[in-house]
Amino acid sequence: MCRLSAITSSDYFSPMENIHALETMKEGHDGSGLGLMLKDLGGPFAEFKSFPVLSAVCSNKGLRDLEEYMKAHGFKEKFTWAPSIKNVPGIERREHYIAKVYDYPESYRDKPMGEKEDLLMNTRLALRCMGEPDGSLFVFSFYPDVLTLKEVGDPLQVGEFFGLEKSDVKSKVVLAQGRQNTNYAIYLYACHPFFIQGYGTMTNGENTAFVPIREFLMGRGNPGYMGYNSDSEVFTHIMHYTNRTLGYPLPYYKDIITPMKDSEIAGRSDAPALKLLKKSLRPLCIDGPNCVIGFTPDGTVFMVQDSKKLRPGIVGGKTGKYALMSEVCGVDSAVPDRDKSTDIFPMKYDMVIIAPGAREVKVWNQLHG
């Protein structure tokens, strides 16, 4: 079972805090990989808030291809950041780990955000297609104010490998996953967190309904609904589909992945609409076991459980800083000086929502809507 560690804060903090939290939950992961997704970036990225950041791992050839492609498509490079790699035994170093900040092509500068987002996604997909066959280029995210780092290995060692302890890269939201490998070969595109157009999620569990969900998403006509090297990638896409494409408010995500019984729906004020959703989005029901943690484009962070709550998950913290973790020891590590009596263990009907700024935690209950 993988371990999840997310922190949302009003101040910038280092992703090492997440990694230390993962370290406390060590029994739960086998050190087979670390995925970090940072949102609301500080440090060297602070001045580029509105410009998209491309996060990639590549070989020399991949880097050349990437740069050529971006140039040919009118993207202007504004800044490049690369972690200062420190060789660590057991971690096989690839040629480049980069995060490049670009300015949009001329023709897109005044376009609405929606169109820009489509351009960014299509660019990411094109680069992925170029680099996937020979493994020369992996692109994880391309979006303003979001940075992704992934590598195979023990989380603490990967943090050391990326030199994060001393790095000036900070952010206000971090998703981190310590991987428990369930497939022998570890493929970077199969590592959480997953990203699409401002939405990032990571999951702990096994998605038994993966195939029907994948087939349903792939039929939505969105080229971004692809990949699926991990059965958990669908959780990111379901969030994107319901919140962005269909325009449903955030809590409906819970209603879609874990629909209630008709008798329960009847108690909700929006029952007529819910009944329709339950039928039309029936293939997106997950059946569990899963705990999903993620963020939306505005920086809201959430946690939801499957309908039987078959996975652990806890939220705790204090005003200005909250941790959403698989286990309580992770929260203890991230926010030790909190009032533990206010810790929240989201149950099967709950969706925990923390707005940007981490002022307070809201527990939305599916029964009451």
Binding site: E206, T208, G219, L277, P283
Partner: protein, 551 residues
């Protein structure tokens, strides 16, 4: 040796030509006559044999001939009176003196076309081999990486949707105050939540009144007492007025077929209906006899049936192979769906049923574009029938597994797999594995399955099988009283017992479905299209169905 030309019996059939050979034990038989009386086809008769005995007493041979008359049970050698192997004789025999034995070497088909009339019968395809459905197994078992569910402890929701599901993009809803609200006045197609195993179309003329009543009572009990929303289809030929005007109508799917039998009554009852039917099924084809219309032979067109169907007694009721008033698929499907929908004010799902065919995808694609089409039911070659030519049953049709799979994957390509439910029929439970066959079809892409022969066998003890046992459903001579309109025969069948078995069968299948779904980790929604759970030890089948090959 006598020349063959003069052999008196030369133009008669020998016992070895017959599919069933009666084994009768003279030593056990008490000559009660029950077997010959019960035989539905007069294949056996009492006969008198002379027995010549030569005895000799004393020390030197003094042969003495005595002739004795004995009563025997004799099997007829007339092809019209061939033993159908039903076993009724064995059933009634008090001393186990008689039973039919299947003859693998029979040449029955060579001769059963007397008078230039091809062999007609009821039943199913005579293919006793293991069906594709029975070869499929469930190979994705949740082990350690995720906790498997407990069929006895966790809550399961085994339900399916019958009706056109709007794509989410077209739902009449909008956001108001952070909540979704429905936009009043917009049309949302009717969708029913039903149990994924249905009792498929069997008409109230094909079935006896007692059989029909038993099924109807069974599903009503399942709905009202057990909470299992099992529905059944009327078949062509209407419904009794007592059902049409009752609150139970909601458990029935009314079928309209090319003969429109029974529809006068239905239309007349419309103003008095207090419930809508579950759905309307438009029959374009039947898996057991593709290309043929419905057929109710004169033997079965008696009192009640002639009344419900609005026809005279004792005439063959043949429905044309196609709906005669329509000349193209667009016409047929679109107009029929439209008119049926209108009759119930667009409150009832209307869908077509076709026989399994290579052209199913063309029909499907037409339906996918028709926003009023509520589903597509495909009836595979292993479906049953009350009456058809043997050649249609044995040699025509398309297996259901690949037909359903192709159609489902076509819908997936269009992103419409949740909009248009597929219903699979034909051979479900053929080998007795109802839940496993249903689950396999669901994982291949079906939203629901239909059963027919299976429920006749399990609930009423139908003798029929794939060795052509019995299968005289067309003649009105059903020895079990299932498919006959002869009161002397159907009085044998107790509707209460049938209903009881229907309930037992569905309750057991429900437990088995949970047993299958739980280890796959599915409990809330039906695993429609969850093909990664299936495996088969036959590479060709695996490739054809796009599932994994296991060995």
């Amino acid at each position: 040796m006598e020349s063959a030309a003069r052999l008196d019996q030369n133009h008669q059939l020998s016992i070895k030509e017959f599919p069933y050979i009666i084994k009768w034990r003279e030593d056990r038989c008490t000559r009660c006559g029950r077997c010959t009386a019960v035989c539905p086809v007069k294949a056996i008769e009492p006969a008198v044999n002379t027995q010549r005995t030569v005895t000799s007493e004393g020390s030197s041979p003094e042969p003495k001939v005595t002739r004795r008359l004995t009563h025997v049970v004799k099997q007829s050698m007339e092809i019209e009176r061939y033993c159908i192997g039903c076993g009724s004789c064995a059933l009634v025999c008090p001393t186990e003196a008689i039973f039919p034995e299947y003859n693998f070497q029979h040449k029955f088909y060579h001769f059963k076309n007397k008078g230039g009339i091809p062999y007609m019968r009821g039943g199913r395809r005579n293919d006793p081999s293991v069906s594709t459905l029975d070869k499929l197994k469930f190979t994705r078992i949740s082990m350690l990486t995720d906790p498997a569910l407990d069929a006895g402890r966790h809550e399961f929701r085994i339900r399916t949707l019958l009706g056109r599901n709007l794509p989410a993009e077209h739902l009449p809803i909008r956001v108001e105050g952070g909540k979704l609200i429905t936009i009043p006045g917009s049309f949302v197609p009717p969708v029913r939540e039903i149990y994924p195993i249905r009792i498929g179309s069997m008409s109230i003329g094909a079935l006896s009144p007692h059989m029909w009543e038993g099924l109807a009572m069974g599903i009503t009990y399942l709905n009202e007492v057990e909470g299992l929303p099992v529905v059944m289809c009327s078949g062509e030929g209407g419904l009794p007025p007592s059902i049409l005007k009752s609150r139970y109508l909601k458990y029935f799917i009314i079928q309209i077929a090319s003969g429109y039998f029974g529809w006068d009554e239905i239309i007349r009852a419309l103003p008095d209906m207090i419930e809508d039917p579950c759905a309307i099924e438009i029959k374009y084809g039947q898996g057991a006899k593709p290309g043929d219309g419905g057929l109710l032979q004169a033997y079965k067109v008696l009192g009640l049936i002639s009344k419900i169907r609005g026809v005279p007694q004792f005439i063959d009721l043949a429905s044309p192979p196609t709906h005669q008033t329509k000349y193209s698929i667009e016409e047929a499907v679109a107009k029929m769906i439209q008119s049926m929908s209108m009759a119930w004010g667009f409150r009832v799902p209307v869908y077509p049923k076709i026989s399994g065919t290579k052209t199913a995808r063309a029909v499907l694609n037409n339906l996918a574009r028709n926003p009023y089409a509520a589903a597509l039911c495909i009836d595979g070659e292993d479906g049953g029938t009350g009456a058809a030519y043997n050649v249609s049953m044995d040699k025509m049709g398309h297996p259901i597994a690949s037909n359903i799979r192709d159609c489902y994957l076509d819908l997936v390509k269009q992103g419409k797999q949740n909009e248009l439910p597929l219903i699979a029929a034909g051979g479900v439970g053929k080998g007795g594995n109802l839940a496993a066959n249903a689950a396999a079809l669901i994982m291949l892409g079906a939203s629901a399955v239909d059963i027919g022969k299976y429920i006749m066998q399990t609930a009423a003890g139908c003798f029929g099988d794939e060795y052509n046992r019995c299968n005289v459903c067309n003649l009105g001579k059903c020895p079990r009283g299932i498919t006959t309109q002869d009161p002397k025969l159907y009085r044998r069948l107790d509707p209460d017992k049938v209903a009881e078995r229907v309930v037992e069968v569905f309750k057991a299948a429900d437990v088995e479905l949970k047993k299958i779904f739980a280890p796959l980790g599915r409990s809330t929604e039906l695993p429609i299209g969850m093909s990664d759970a299936l495996g088969v030890a036959d590479k060709d089948i695996a490739d054809r169905l796009s599932i994994s090959y296991v060995c």
